[in-house]
């Protein structure tokens, strides 16, 4: 399998605070790659840096063989790197429907946008019920669904998910994991950060462990699931 | 405990004493011109500190200070030659406070830029009401002949500056002030932890109007002429905001440094480069925001921290 995303020696942070220290990892095409780590490890920082919302202070990010370290966010989206951010970041005044439409803003997402919107409503019937409601008045979980749907509308090549199951009811969360598998089946590569480590490792191919801003372990997901250290640190077993 | 408490406030107290001493020296030995500049300086300190007590802490940027200033001036001229002057000054402060309560009660429900523009609107509203009243009374500008001299005014103004500075200092550390800061950060969360937001805002808004009311009264004595379009001019409010942002921070030193800087700058410039004065001021303002956005006090503090490391 070829590498779609590769990150080398990445340093990033907020002003004087350096969070990521020489982070390196890669995501192979058509895979589901998981990044696990405890609270404050720097997962969100890493995802935001890959998406271009934060700039790297050093290191290199390449996507499909191209160096995108200095590429602004919107061009990364045009290339197919799409982040579903932690904290949802919905457009509060757009209705559900408008949000899906703006989700397909980039030129690569024009074609088939309507069909994709219909799929989103299939996927999250709750959103269909609320299609004319402003995103700002949706419940927490509904906003999360909307954020996921918006990301999928952008026709990603690489989908970065930062804690997508946050605030979702179990049935919906379970459906989400099924969806992720389905999305991958359709040829979209996935990089997933999740606190539900068990479900994540079940569907992932490969996994990295991020601790204190550095990658401390990596391996095949099912092997990770068996690792005593992972079980103790993240699965509470 | 008591001694620890005193030690905590030592920098503030000694600063205050030094400033008052400097003021006393100025008024005793300074020439007229210097005292005049001193008056301008302490006037802006009094105004900006009182502004910061509400707007700095609450984040509700008010363009309404011109009203309190104007109301104070109006009380002074209305009572001219009937009320004793110093009684008029006190009455001016109380009247301004009352007006603030009246205006604040409805307007403090509105937030962010809406509040900024609303307070501007309120200020204009009151200004035109006064214009109308003066028109109805057939008054057309009022002359105040026989006002107290510059040095007396300076001493009174220095007192007001000390009052509002101490007020801000004490408020910031009090329960009321803490509540106001929480309101700035997040009003809904503040309510949820028990802050009576409506009352907190209103009380401080009212209190913060007292000093500008008295300042307005004193300044009308300095100008010896009252005309509502000028006394209620929004320029007063804009200048206050400018100074506050230049100074940076919501604590005592910020407004203080901002005032000293702006007054010194305009003293340097308006006489030396009268044609270019305003242009240079504009350029400096822009440069300041772009290169020292945290204000003078913020910049000094970050330098200080950098040096300590």
């Amino acid at each position: 399998m070829t590498e779609l995303l590769s990150v080398r020696d990445l340093d990033a942070g907020y002003g004087p605070v350096q969070v990521l220290k020489h982070v390196g990892f890669s995501v192979s095409e058509h895979s589901i790659t998981a990044v696990i780590g405890s609270n404050g490890a720097g997962k969100t920082t890493m995802m935001r840096t890959v998406a271009g919302l934060l700039s790297a202070s050093s290191g290199q990010i390449s996507f499909a063989g191209k160096d995108v370290t200095l590429t602004p966010t919107h061009l990364r989206v045009a290339e197919g790197i799409v982040l579903i951010p932690e904290g949802r970041l919905v457009f509060p005044d757009f209705t559900v429907e408008e949000t899906l439409r703006i989700g397909a803003y980039s030129s690569r997402a024009h074609a088939g946008a309507d069909a994709r919107a219909a799929e989103m409503y299939e996927l999250f019937p709750r959103l269909r019920e609320r299609r004319n409601v402003r995103a700002g008045s949706l419940s927490g979980g509904e906003q999360q669904m909307l954020a996921i749907a918006r990301g999928l509308m952008a026709a990603p090549r690489l989908l970065l998910l930062d804690e997508p199951s946050l605030g979702l009811a179990p049935s919906t969360a379970q459906m989400l994991f099924e969806t992720i598998v389905e999305v991958r089946r359709r040829g979209i590569t996935i990089c997933l950060v999740e606190q539900d480590v068990h479900s994540t490792l079940e569907i992932a191919d490969y996994a990295y462990v991020l601790e204190d801003g550095a990658i401390v372990a990596d391996g095949l997901a099912n092997e990770m699931l068996g690792s005593a250290q992972v079980r103790e640190s993240y699965l509470g077993l | 405990m008591k001694r620890a408490e005193t030690r905590r406030h030592l920098p503030f107290i000694s600063g205050l004493v030094a400033a008052v001493a400097a003021g006393a020296m100025l008024v005793t030995w300074g020439d007229e011109y210097a005292v005049g500049v001193g008056l301008t300086l302490v006037m802006w300190i009094a105004l900006v500190q009182s502004w910061a007590a509400f707007s700095g802490l609450s984040g509700y940027i008010s363009l309404g200070h011109a009203v309190f200033y104007g109301v104070g001036a109006y009380v002074m001229v209305a009572g001219w030659q009937t009320l004793p002057i110093w009684l008029s000054v006190v009455a001016a402060g109380l009247a301004a406070g009352a007006v603030a309560l009246l205006l604040g009660w409805p307007s403090l429900r509105v937030r962010g830029p809406y509040f900024v523009i609303l307070t501007f609107g309120l200020a204009e509203f009151v200004k035109y009401i006064v214009v109308s009243i003066e028109a109805a009374l057939g008054r057309n500008g009022r002359l105040l002949i026989g006002a107290p001299g510059l040095r007396e005014l300076f001493v009174a103004m220095l007192f007001l500056a000390v009052l509002s500075t101490t007020g801000l200092y004490a408020l910031r550390r009090s329960r009321l002030g803490t509540g106001l800061i929480a309101i700035r950060e997040d009003e809904i969360a503040a309510e949820a932890v028990g802050v009576n937001t409506a009352r907190t805002k209103l009380v401080i808004f009212g209190l913060s109007a007292i000093v500008p009311g008295m300042v307005g009264a004193l300044m009308s004595l300095r100008f010896t002429y009252f005309e509502p379009m000028q006394s209620f001019s929004p320029v007063t409010s804009f200048t206050i905001v400018t100074i506050a942002v230049l100074g940076g921070s919501d604590d005592v030193p910020g407004p203080l440094l901002g005032t000293v800087f702006l007054v010194a700058l305009s003293e340097l410039l308006w006489a030396r480069a009268p044609e270019l004065y305003m242009i240079i001021l504009g350029v400096l303002l822009v440069g300041f925001v772009l290169f020292a956005p945290e204000g003078i006090y913020g910049k000094l503090r970050s330098w200080g921290r950098g040096g300590a490391r």
Binding site: F91, S106, S137, S139 | S107, V245, I279, L284, V286
Partner: protein, 296 residues
Amino acid sequence: MSVLLSGQLLAAALALASLYALVAMGLNLVYGTMRLLNIAHGEFVMLGGYVTYWSFTHLGISPLLSMLIAPALGACLGMLIYLVLFRRLLRSPKLAARVEANSLLIFFGVSVIFQNVMALLFTSTQRGYVYLDQVINIGNVAMTANRLILFGVASSACLLCLAFFRYTRAGSAVRAVIQQRDASALVGIDIDRLNIMVFALGFALAALAGVLVSMVQEITPFIGFPFTISAFVIITLGGLGNLFGSLLGALLLAAVEVYGTAIISSSFRSILVYGVFIAVLLVKPEGLLGRAVVAR
């Protein structure tokens, strides 16, 4: 009472409303997308007026032609100001954290600079010229041709703008950026380019208003501020960031000025204008079409 029903009064209200709307729209664009409080907006109206005045009286260029030239210059100046002053401001998180206060100060500086440079270059003398000044009677409404042009041009410019933002992709992108910057980047919007576009458009609209203003009233380097104030009142009234709201606000304000003073008395003009403004905000703190935030 018959005065109130006269076509003349309606025409006066509409002409005033169209000018207000035009000025407010440009201001609202810049505020809405970038949260920049442009209190130099009126200065660009003033500059548009001067461009028109000088090119007409010295070069003989028709003000109608200036309707193209001045906005083009305004757009360039807008872009320049964005690139030099605001790009940095919006990018640095430290500066962006207090973007409203900071922009207020920067624009205050810009406003002071423009006013005084103009006063220095051209003196404060009031300037005026006569162009298309004949009175045209339509039914029982009498208006000078230049005021009719003002109405026609200003209202079409506003409607075009509205349509642009309602129905184009760029328009919805602007509305998205207004609400959530990061998320806008994440759906592929080029915020920087959009900002430049908005600056260009906002300042072009102001300059266009300046061309129209110079046709109907005298100009000085200091005519800008009252326009800024009216525009702020209007966009607040209508709901910040809401372009349609600006249109509504402009209509309301013009109606108060023309009909309100007709019903009550012109002596209460300003009291009425600000009174209505205050009353609206008290009933609807987010403006006519603004929206309140909810807590979860």
